[in-house]
């Protein structure tokens, strides 16, 4: 069962970023006219941005702590749709951030944020987060939208995981990781589900190893949900 792919689709984050990058170019193509106050203001703004980008980077903790508003203190997320990133391998985090920045990896918001960091800054964030301690996610009483773990679904999920040989890459039931594989055990079930749905979404082209995409293509939405419950339930 081959999934239809739309190769030409430009994704939300990429589109916005592309437009932002194209804007100065378009201005440069405009016919030469006497510089207006607006042009001068724009040029000053661009100069300020270029200077700020080139300015020395902040330390890892300072940079990484700005992530906590969405990804939780030291990368342990409190929100069911936001991934915990504590203890993820630095190479994985760096490559994901680079793909967000280039637009290769689709996103709603991360593309806009990733563009704010130089390679050195991203590297410092990744190093900080990789050293942070993983903690299995825990729902606060105020978190009313979080999906509760379902043992029956998790049991069925285990069967699909075995059938698809997910454990070849996602070793020890998603508990340990190679450099380029994210941890899934103890992650938010909602987040895992959103990401797997994204992999089936015809409007999205997500950088994935071929065998990962093939496995996802074979599974139904229901089976993917069961797999999400399985990995999220592993502690």
């Amino acid at each position: 069962m081959q999934r239809k792919r739309i190769h030409m689709l430009v994704l939300a984050g990429g589109l916005l970023g592309g437009w932002m990058m194209a804007a100065p170019l378009m201005a440069a193509d405009a016919p030469a006219a006497a510089p207006s106050a607006a042009d001068a203001e724009k040029a000053a703004k661009e100069k300020a941005i270029a200077e700020a980008v080139a300015a020395p980077p902040a330390e890892g903790a300072m940079l990484a702590n700005t992530c906590a508003g969405c990804h939780g203190t030291n990368g342990v997320s409190g929100g069911p749709s936001m991934p915990s990133i504590a203890g993820m391998p630095a190479p994985y985090l760096k490559s994901v951030m680079a793909d967000f920045k280039s637009g290769k990896r689709p996103s709603t918001i991360m593309g806009r944020i990733a563009k704010g960091y130089t390679e050195e800054e991203t590297s410092r964030i990744a190093d900080f987060m990789s050293k942070a301690k993983w903690a299995d996610v825990k729902s606060h009483a105020n978190s009313v939208l979080a999906t509760k773990l379902d043992d029956a679904k998790a049991k069925k999920g285990k069967k699909h995981v075995d059938a698809q040989k997910c454990g070849k890459c996602h070793e020890d039931d998603g508990l340990t990781q190679d450099e380029d594989t994210p941890r899934m055990a103890g992650q938010w079930v909602d987040y895992l589900l959103i990401k797997m749905q994204d992999l089936k979404n015809q409007h999205l082209t997500i950088p994935q190893p071929e065998k990962m995409q093939k496995a996802i293509d074979k599974l139904s939405a229901e089976e993917l949900e069961e797999i999400a419950h399985f990995y999220a339930s592993k502690r």
Partner: protein, 426 residues
């Protein structure tokens, strides 16, 4: 920026006097222990207190907050529109105590920057080496908007009791009455907030009071995420059609409200008057009461600060963060307050240890809802260069995003809230 200087204006403040006094056990100070006092336990102050303790457990941190419970402003518009309970907006200070923060529930009545102490309504005098002031907002005077008017025409711009009042008034509003939303002039807390509120009230009206509509009376001619909001309003609420559930009256078309009368439930603009049984008045903002009282504000009503440390340019060893500060370049959002607090906390730790202050980094991430399944966002990454906060990247959600993207952003909004609250109070 507007200035309300008419006679008869009543000075308003955002706070309510604390009722009780609950004090955590005091920690006795060693001779070399440094003490930081934080005023205000919201999105800014709580983070500053926690992150100082995380970075340097040798610093004693005392947080003084006037209310036992904290109600989050972000997501409180969901409550008003009837699809969220106020209970899940409520947070306490137990988590901060676990980080070793001493929490005092009391109202600060004075700051003495020369003697370096603060005094409270409960009669306490607390000394500090460095003070962090994070009092949120108060309101500038608006003719007719006194303490009583505030209960009849709630602002609901400081969450809690005010949120309940507006929720109740909307629920009881007669089908056919307009929901009048008086939007504030710049700069104010949560720039997209009034328009998110208008959106979610329209969503409520569509289902529950189809003969009613929202009228936004605005002193401004443009607003935050404007293209995304009006785009969403067109697809969901018939915006720009005769049957629109939202009518936006910009300043240029007479949207500027000059006075209100709570007895007759009327608001007056330059060009006319509007009446309803349900009126939401959000006056122009200024820094919270204590900042003004302590001489930390400028003529615009907010607190000028150094962007590297958030130290006040008015008083030494006093820092101001969050909506009360004038962090030019950053919006007055909860996420910006969180980010400012972390920059301030790192600077305070460095200064108290006689070390150089590190290079700051700031982020803002802010979601708004146009309906319960339609989320939009703005994000920004900022660096300090030549004394100015510069947005190096960011922007708003794509204007032509597909429905599944809007749905995901709606989910991310609530998860944003859970994570930032865990960061703040956990």
């Amino acid at each position: 920026m507007m200035n309300f200087t008419r006679r008869g204006f009543v000075k308003l403040t955002g706070g309510v006097a604390a009722l009780g006094l609950i004090s955590a056990p005091g920690i006795s100070l060693g001779a070399d222990k440094k003490r930081v006092v934080v005023i205000g336990g919201g999105y800014g102050g709580s983070i500053a207190a926690k992150y100082i303790r995380m970075a340097d457990p040798n610093i004693q941190v005392t947080l003084i907050e006037q209310n036992k419970d904290y109600y989050s402003g972000p997501l409180s518009n969901w409550v008003i529109a009837g699809f969220r309970k106020l209970d899940v907006q409520k947070w306490g200070y137990e988590g901060l105590k676990k980080h070793g923060v001493e929490v005092i529930i009391d109202k600060v009545t004075g700051i003495d920057p020369a003697a370096k102490n603060v005094t409270t309504a409960g009669g306490k005098k607390v000394e500090y080496d460095r003070l962090i002031v994070s009092p949120g907002i108060g309101f500038k005077a608006l003719e007719g908007y006194d303490a009583e008017a505030m209960t009849k025409m709630p602002h609901a711009w400081i969450a809690g009791e005010q949120t309940s009042l507006l929720t109740k008034q909307l629920a009881e509003m007669k089908d056919g009455d307009p929901f009048i939303l008086v939007a504030p002039a710049d700069p104010y807390r949560c720039p997209p907030g009034p328009y998110e509120r208008a959106s979610l009230v329209a969503h409520y009206l569509k289902k529950n009071k189809p003969k009613s509509k929202v009228i936004i009376l605005d002193p401004k001619d443009k607003f935050s995420k404007m293209g995304l909001f009006t785009g969403g309003w067109k697809s969901l609420y018939g915006y720009d059609t005769p049957n629109s559930l939202i009518e936006w009256v910009p300043g240029a078309s007479g949207g500027k409200v000059t006075r209100v009368d709570a007895k007759t439930m009327t608001v007056y603009t330059d060009m006319g008057e509007y009446k309803s049984s349900c009126i939401n008045v959000i006056p122009a903002n200024k820094a919270g009461e204590i900042a003004e009282k302590a001489g930390l504000t400028d003529e615009k009503g907010f607190c000028p600060v150094n962007f590297e440390t958030f130290e006040s340019t008015k008083h030494k060893d006093v820092h101001v963060i969050g909506d009360a500060s004038m962090a030019t370049g950053l919006p007055k959002s909860g996420y910006a307050a969180n980010s400012e607090a972390k920059v301030c906390a790192a600077a305070v730790v460095a200064l108290l240890n006689g070390k150089p202050v590190g290079i700051p980094s700031y982020v803002n991430t802010c979601y708004s809802m146009i309906s319960p399944e339609y989320g939009i966002s703005v994000a920004g990454v900022y660096k300090l260069n030549a004394g100015k906060i510069v947005e190096v990247a960011g922007g708003v959600s794509a204007g032509d995003a597909k429905d599944f993207v809007r749905k995901q952003e709606a989910l991310y909004n609530e998860s944003w809230y859970q994570s930032i609250m865990a960061d703040t109070f956990g």
